[in-house]
């Protein structure tokens, strides 16, 4: 980000959110902020690096608020806004950004440094090259065009903390500059990574802050950066998918920033005012944090923990093992770019024109009109954003790349269910059913049927298939079982002669969940068993 934009965004943000309000209301808001922050700091008890600074700041605010010395509460609110905004923006150094974006080849190294933990272990000779592992496909040229014609919000699916480096790398390979990216505070704990993340456009999001003022600052900050033409990256699922399923329910809060920015752009007559939402589906055969995530899912079906700071990602050795094993198997990560959408969820073409359901070009500005002028209307815009979220989720489902691990896991579950009629999914996960192991032949039959089903769906454009699912059922299954055995502490499935053992059935659930929501034979385990999962926690 350019330095002049940095300061402009900060002061514009304070002006917008600090707009006049009556004094009692303002006091109430500040009291709320104090309350929420006090709670957070009490729970934190000095663990976070910013603890001392935060305590000091809020003590000061309390003092000033209590002292009826005549300082207007509006001034206090402005202090709070600036405090939050500065933390979000971080100590971004435009010179580093310049350097990286100007010198592409050396930039690659820096980029990997910046947004991934890879560099930390890159000196080890066996470390896999990202280049060989990442398959970028879909509407790549379209994305480049949209980047020229307006501001892009890239919205990927999210299963792993490795997703951001993967996207960062993919953007680089596509010849695009880094996108601004709101990263969880927990990703900034490593000082080396933190330095580069900040300088490549990552700003901080502290999900422990519950203060509504903080949340509005975050949204306004994102909106302002979009208005200033900075492409953004959001994970609209809000957090890594705990179940492993492709996200269906998306968070509308940050998604709505695109629409607000578009209205503001139109109102001030900005050049290239349009904001494009480009869904991007990340798919991989194995997921680094699968065990922790699915555990969390089972523990908290329905209400996720949201913040996990002690998972596999925080153990460099495991990250390293994971990546090395994947390379040995020539495993691929798919980054599939979908067709762009306008902020209302309509598809756009390369020129950025919006299309209605009847395939006709529409003047999308008119969605925002009140008496012929673009205006923000909260309930209406919320509905538009719901429509957008739905359109994104549809793209995710269509561009999800199904791999051998997912097919194998689901076929195994089907086999389990067939042999244990009437037994709930949860019970199957806990007990493994009545058999010690499963006959491979039955698994092959299930896999064969399943492959037929998913191939038919792929032909209709309802999902995508990885190359690992092209062969006959027995090959696909062997590949799947091989993958299950290489990284996870306990394998989801292993082969012994003509039988299959299932040492970790929760992992099996995790991988099969990638095929949920497609109306496949046997129904959706998650939908069917959500209730029973909630009732009896393992």
């Amino acid at each position: 980000m350019r330095r002049e934009d940095q300061e402009r965004i900060l002061s514009e943000l304070v002006t917008r959110l600090g707009a006049a309000e009556d004094v009692p209301k303002l006091r109430e808001r500040l009291e709320d902020s104090l309350y929420f922050e006090r709670q957070r700091l009490d729970a934190d008890r000095g663990k976070s690096p910013a603890y001392a600074r935060d305590v000091q700041f809020w003590d000061g605010i309390r003092e000033r608020l209590r002292k009826r010395s005549g300082e207007p509460p509006a001034a206090l609110l402005r202090s709070v806004l600036r405090f939050y905004a500065e933390e979000i923006q971080g100590n971004f150094d435009p010179r580093v950004y310049e350097l990286v974006t100007r010198f592409a080849p050396s930039g690659l190294g820096l980029m990997l440094n910046a947004v991934s933990p890879l560099r930390l272990v890159q000196r080890l000779p066996e470390l896999p090259k990202m280049e060989d592992r990442i398959v970028i496909q879909g509407e790549v040229e379209h994305l480049r065009r949209l980047h020229e014609r307006g501001t892009v919000m890239l919205v990927p699916t999210h299963v792993s903390n490795l997703d951001s480096p993967v996207v960062g790398f993919a953007l680089f390979k596509m010849g695009l500059p880094p996108f601004l990216y709101g990263a969880g505070l927990n990703l900034f704990t490593n000082p080396v990574m933190s330095f580069f993340m900040r300088n490549l456009g990552a700003y901080t999001v502290d999900r422990k802050k519950q203060d509504p003022v903080y949340k509005s600052v975050l949204k306004e900050y994102a909106t302002l950066t979009i208005e200033h033409g900075y492409d953004n990256l959001f994970f609209p699922g809000g957090t890594r998918s705990r179940s492993g399923a492709v996200e269906r329910k998306l968070k509308r809060g940050l998604l709505g920033c695109g629409l607000s920015a578009y209205v503001n752009n139109l109102r001030r007559g900005a050049p290239n005012p349009k904001v494009f939402i480009v869904p991007c589906t990340l798919s991989s055969q194995l997921v680094l944090e699968a065990e922790t995530l699915i555990d969390d899912f089972l523990k908290e079906v329905g209400k996720s923990r949201y913040i996990i700071d002690d998972d596999e990602f925080s153990q460099p050795k495991r990250v390293f093992d994971f990546l090395t094993r994947l390379t040995e198997l020539d495993s691929k990560n798919h980054v599939t770019v979908s067709r762009g959408l306008d902020v209302f969820g309509n598809p756009v073409d390369d020129e950025g024109r919006s299309y209605g359901p009847n395939g006709q070009v529409i003047d999308d500005r008119r969605y925002l009109y009140v008496e012929g002028e673009p205006q923000i209307v909260p309930d209406r815009d919320g509905e538009y954003t719901t429509d957008l979220a739905e359109a994104i989720a549809d793209s995710f489902a269509r561009d999800n790349v199904v791999d051998c691990t997912h097919v194998t896991a689901r076929a195994l579950f089907r086999t389990l269910r067939r042999r244990n009629p009437g037994v709930s999914t949860l019970r199957l996960i806990r007990t493994g059913g009545r058999d010690e192991d499963l006959p491979l032949v039955e698994l092959y039959t299930e896999a064969d049927n399943l492959l037929r089903e998913v191939r038919a769906k792929a032909e209709r454009g309802q999902l995508r298939l990885a190359r690992s699912t092209v062969g006959p059922a027995d090959e696909v299954v062997s590949d799947g079982i091989l993958h299950f055995g290489i990284y996870h502490k306990k394998a989801a499935a292993t082969r012994r002669g003509d039988r299959v053992l299932l040492p970790d059935r929760t992992l099996l659930l995790y991988y099969q969940n990638r095929l949920e929501g497609y109306g496949l034979e046997g129904g959706d385990l998650l939908a069917d068993d959500r209730r029973s999962l909630r009732e009896v926690r393992p």
Binding site: F344, G356, N358, R366, E373, V377, R380, E383
Partner: protein, 325 residues
């Protein structure tokens, strides 16, 4: 340069049939352009009103030109076609108002046709006991307007300013439409009960069950249960029970007298949406694994699979509580 703005006071009424004629008297304060493919229907409408600012046309784009509100005045079964016709001329800032009370294949609700075929998003639906005859008799109406967009509600109030209507506002677009559509099926049952002389109590119980089953189906597809206790639900149940002139009742009476469906339909003037709604409701209930004995019973009677009296008496003997199977 900004594209031309719409006329805030101009309403396009698309369809000059029963629904179209009815709404004209509501739109007191607006300029109205009425579209219909049939010149005869337009003539009839023009002849039946003294609205000072009304024009008619057989050109849909002309009717829509500059209109800030489009009122789609056709039965649910014709909505898909109308939406295809209007889609090329629709503008994203035009608002839509619907009054169709029926569903189509796959339990598609009227607003879904608009969403699936056109770029129009700001949609409102009419519901509740909106009875045209009362309006023409100069009585005050009570109606529900449901929309997720408060600007649509404001717009409807604006263009109907001065008309004797009291609007209640809801955000539950799905619930209001389901209550109206499924209520029609219950009215068929009530008509049958009347012809079979099962008594007023039976008629009331059937209508009440119809409302409960509407709620069951509605909630399954995203409606709010409370909607069915409001004006669009209970509020319409009572008028349904006391009213004697209505097409769905008439159809039920004809069936109750033993006429087969074709003959019964021929005996009723106008389009009866409840027949399709019954079939689609039963299909939806099957998909969602819900129990809807009244709707299933009416559907079976309509198609001559069961004898009406026995079927209705069976239904009347069931406890009035519903749940999933």
């Amino acid at each position: 340069m900004s594209p031309p703005a719409l006329d805030r006071n101009r309403v396009a009424v698309l369809g000059a049939g029963r629904l179209g004629r009815a709404v004209v008297s509501l739109l007191k304060g607006a300029h109205i352009s009425v579209y219909d493919r049939r010149p005869s229907a337009l003539e009839e409408l023009a002849g039946s009103t003294d609205h000072p600012r009304l024009s008619t046309t057989t050109d849909i784009s002309e009717a829509m030109q500059g209109a800030s509100l489009l009122y789609l005045a056709v039965p649910a079964s014709s909505l898909a076609e109308l939406c295809t016709d209007l889609a090329p001329h629709g503008l994203p800032d035009q608002m839509v108002l619907l009054a169709s009370r029926g569903v189509t294949e796959g339990f598609q609700l009227p607003h879904q046709h608009v969403r699936n075929k056109t770029c129009l998003r700001q949609i409102g639906v009419f519901g509740g006991p909106l009875h045209v005859r009362e309006l023409s008799a100069g009585r005050r109406l009570n109606a529900v307007i449901a929309s997720r967009f408060h600007l649509v509600v404001e717009k409807v109030r604006e263009v109907s300013a001065g008309a004797p209507v009291h609007f209640q506002v809801s955000r539950d677009v799905i619930g209001v439409q389901v209550a109206g559509a499924v209520g029609n099926v219950a009215s068929i049952a009530a008509g049958m009960a009347e012809a079979l002389e099962l008594g007023d109590t039976a008629r009331g119980v059937l209508l009440a069950r119809g409302l409960l089953e509407a709620r069951t189906l509605g909630v399954a597809i995203g409606a709010e249960a409370e909607t069915f206790s409001g004006l669009a639900g209970v509020g319409e149940l009572i008028p349904r029970a006391v009213r004697s002139m209505e097409r769905h009742l008439d159809l039920g009476r004809a069936l109750g007298r033993g006429l087969p469906l074709d003959a019964a339909l021929a005996a009723v003037a106008g389009h009866v949406e409840g027949v399709t709604t019954a079939a689609e409701s039963v299909a939806l209930a099957r998909r969602e694994e819900l129990s809807v004995p009244l709707l299933a019973g009416v559907q079976a009677i309509l198609h001559g699979e069961v004898e009406a009296r026995t079927q209705l008496e069976d239904i009347l003997s069931l406890p009035l509580e519903l749940g999933s199977r």
